[in-house]
């Protein structure tokens, strides 16, 4: 996003990409059937979400380790390809709402942002028009309306879920996904193959290489250097950033790019790592880190899922249920935390039915459906009967930053390029565990209301109520947080480093808090605002 805005504003931009180039038109495996591969769509080392997935990366990357402090778990997902993690996401595009910027004022936990919803609203609007998003104006207080394309009709099991949610008082509304239900800005409308995750060959959903880089490249002012593993931000005697040094992954030699302005956007933790690795006599603590805040305030979304077998959906009517590559309905946070024993909310994502073609893992664990397993003709019929008869609910909630959760440099370990690696420290508190319990209870209640049975037993408190490990939801933010006070924050409200005025951060690092919403849309709006601010400063010759 920053590259696009800056190129269009007239800047010459060099972009360093740690992975290889990627072209959704040529490289997407959209439309492939499982039987096109002997692996039938199973995962591989570099594609943990299945071999046809559009994202090359994962929680483990060969040659690029990270460490975890004893007794703590944080799994760090990284993408190594053009467009990075915009190639891996559910296109769930939720604006942070007014309350999400001032949580401390509301409940005394965490911190307020130095900006509010109104500061970002114009950028959200521009983003909606530029990238495209479907949804519906619901006028909910903390779920701001956007500029929406029409939402697709719900699938029938989604209507069934909505029916149950209406009875239970759970808000269930059209989802908000950055997938085109109408042509937009020269991009084709969705063709409803449901395979957004593989990368869209018709540019009908959002990923950076598909939507933002083509116009940036069209300006003739963007140069992309692929396979460039950024190592540190270089600085001059004045204390300003002078560029970035990187290692070419192909020849493993060191190179440097000189620049007037440096914008970091390699992902929240990678930005923190670069700053911590940019040590000099002037910045012994790492660049822009006199405060010691770099790496702190790390949060991920909380997450867990429950699936249920719904007898009413068994022996279903065969029809194409693919739809868009994601849910057509979802549940935004609908309760008041003042009346609950945990401080922050979550939203619910839906899955189920006959969405997406059978691939590796299909109908696994049949014994959970028919209660016995078995073999032979009866089993074969059971598979047919139960196919498409499940629903799943995934909670994605807000975690409150805490002092025990952060990343720093491991004092001993380097990666294959000789760059010191991150060490993670991670801890959930009762704020998250009690929220997870509420998710479990709610999802089980909805499944029960649907006349179904959960496919897994209720996890115990000792097992954290099934809460996924930190980093598993891939929404980590906060490691270079923004603020008005340079003693407690890394960047200002324009994501400009307090200490290095020509250094900006355009990823999730500047987030002061997470939310009960996925972070991408707010991250993009913030990045657009940052880049426009840079362009403004340049036009005023004040940078």
């Amino acid at each position: 996003m920053a590259a696009k805005v800056l190129c269009e504003a007239g800047a010459d931009v060099v972009m360093l990409e740690a992975g290889a180039m990627w072209d959704t038109e040529k490289d997407s495996r959209m439309s492939a059937w499982a039987y096109d591969s002997p692996r039938r769509g199973a995962s591989t080392a570099e594609r943990p979400f299945g071999e046809f997935d559009g994202c090359i990366g994962g929680w483990e990357i060969e040659g690029e380790p990270y460490t975890q402090a004893p007794g703590t778990t944080f799994d760090w997902f990284r993408a190594r390809m053009l467009g990075g993690r915009t190639n891996h996401w559910g296109r769930i595009s939720l604006r942070f709402g007014p309350d999400d910027f001032k949580r401390r004022s509301l409940d005394g936990l965490g911190d307020d942002w130095p900006i509010g919803y109104d500061d970002l609203k114009p950028y959200f609007d521009k983003l909606d028009r530029l990238v495209g998003i479907f949804g519906s104006a619901e006028n909910l207080p903390n779920e701001p309306n956007g500029i929406f394309l029409p939402p697709p009709r719900p699938r029938c099991y989604e209507l069934l879920i909505k029916q149950a949610c209406d009875r239970l008082g759970v808000t269930c509304i059209p989802s908000r996904l950055s997938i085109l239900t109408r042509p937009l800005n020269g991009r084709a409308a969705c063709h409803y193959c449901g395979q957004c995750g593989r990368g869209c060959a018709t540019h009908s959903n959002f990923s950076s290489p598909s939507v933002l880089l083509p116009p940036a490249l069209a300006t003739g002012r963007l140069r992309i250097i692929a396979n460039a593993m950024a190592r540190e931000v270089t600085t001059g005697e004045s204390g300003l950033a002078t560029g970035v040094s990187y290692i070419n992954r192909t020849d493993r030699r060191d190179y440097a790019v000189r620049a007037r302005i440096v914008v970091l956007a390699p992902s929240a933790c990678e930005s923190a790592r670069m700053l911590l690795n940019s040590k000099s006599s002037r910045f012994p603590n790492g660049l822009a880190n006199s405060s010691g805040v770099v790496g702190r305030y790390l949060t991920d979304s909380t997450g867990l899922s429950v699936s249920g077998y719904i007898p009413k959906m068994a022996n279903g009517v065969a029809h194409n249920e693919d739809g868009v590559g994601g849910m057509h309905l979802y549940m935004p946070w609908w309760l008041d935390n003042k009346k609950l024993d945990f401080p922050r909310g979550y939203h619910i994502e839906l899955g189920g039915g006959r969405r997406s073609a059978p691939s590796f893992g299909v109908m696994g664990g049949i014994q959970r459906f028919n209660g016995k397993g078995g073999y032979g003709k009866q089993l074969k019929d059971d598979y047919r009967q139960y196919y498409g008869s499940t629903v799943s609910f995934s909670g994605r909630g807000e975690m409150v930053p805490n002092d025990d959760t952060y990343c720093d440099l491991d004092p001993r370990v380097v990666d294959t390029y000789g760059i010191p690696v991150l060490r993670f420290h991670f801890k959930f508190t009762d704020h998250e565990y009690l929220q997870a319990k509420h998710m479990q209870d709610t999802f089980r209640q909805i499944i029960q209301e649907l006349g179904g049975t959960p496919l897994s037993p209720m996890p115990s408190r000792e097992s954290g109520y099934g809460l996924e490990a930190g980093g598993r939801i891939i929404h980590e933010v906060g490691t270079t947080r923004m603020g008005a006070d340079p003693r407690t924050s890394v960047v200002n409200q324009f994501c400009q480093a307090h200490e290095v005025k020509n250094l900006f951060i355009a990823d999730g690092g500047p987030f002061v808090s997470n939310a009960d919403k996925n972070v991408t849309w707010t991250l993009l709006a913030l990045s657009m605002r940052t880049a426009e601010y840079i362009a403004l400063l340049r036009s005023q010759l004040s940078l």
Partner: protein, 202 residues
Amino acid sequence: MTKISRRTALQLVGAAPVAAAMAWTPAEAEQAHTHAQQARAAAAKQSKPYKPKFFTAHEYATVAVLVDLIIPKDDRSGSATDAGVPEFMDFMMIDQPQRQVAMRGGLALIDRMCEELFAKRFVACADEQRRHVLDAIAYTTDVPPARAHAVAFFNSFRDLTASGFWTTKMGIADLQYQGNVFLNEWNGCPEEALTKLGVKYS
């Protein structure tokens, strides 16, 4: 819902080069499938059976018998071996080597059960004897601790059989999955499906 071919759709949206660049059109997939089947038939004719890369000949014979007991041929579709499940399993053992020990050990466990009961290995058993063994390990209800390992192995083996069978063209047709096509319009689900679930569009 209007279905159009993928190539037509891409031409409609002005992205014809995409079609040329991508790996498979449905027609090509069809062609490839036919080709594969012909190749297999030809290989069979030349009596050159598939040579497993992971399984021993004995294990592979055991696998072939087991998968067909799990998913037999019926009036709607063929058997697991018809769908190439043993070949698929052999590939997966090489592709995901962390599965190898459990697979090898599980097959050994079944043979040992047969030796104890019938003094011969599983493949040498009569159909009735094989079923006797499966009746003891294929069901997850009331599992005595002594059989827990065999039941756990069978659960996982059954899952892999299902993956191998239902992801083939034959399996997908049997399940009546109707997607992975280009639609120029999404109209939601058909009346019959709405009625079955007791829901409607408002």
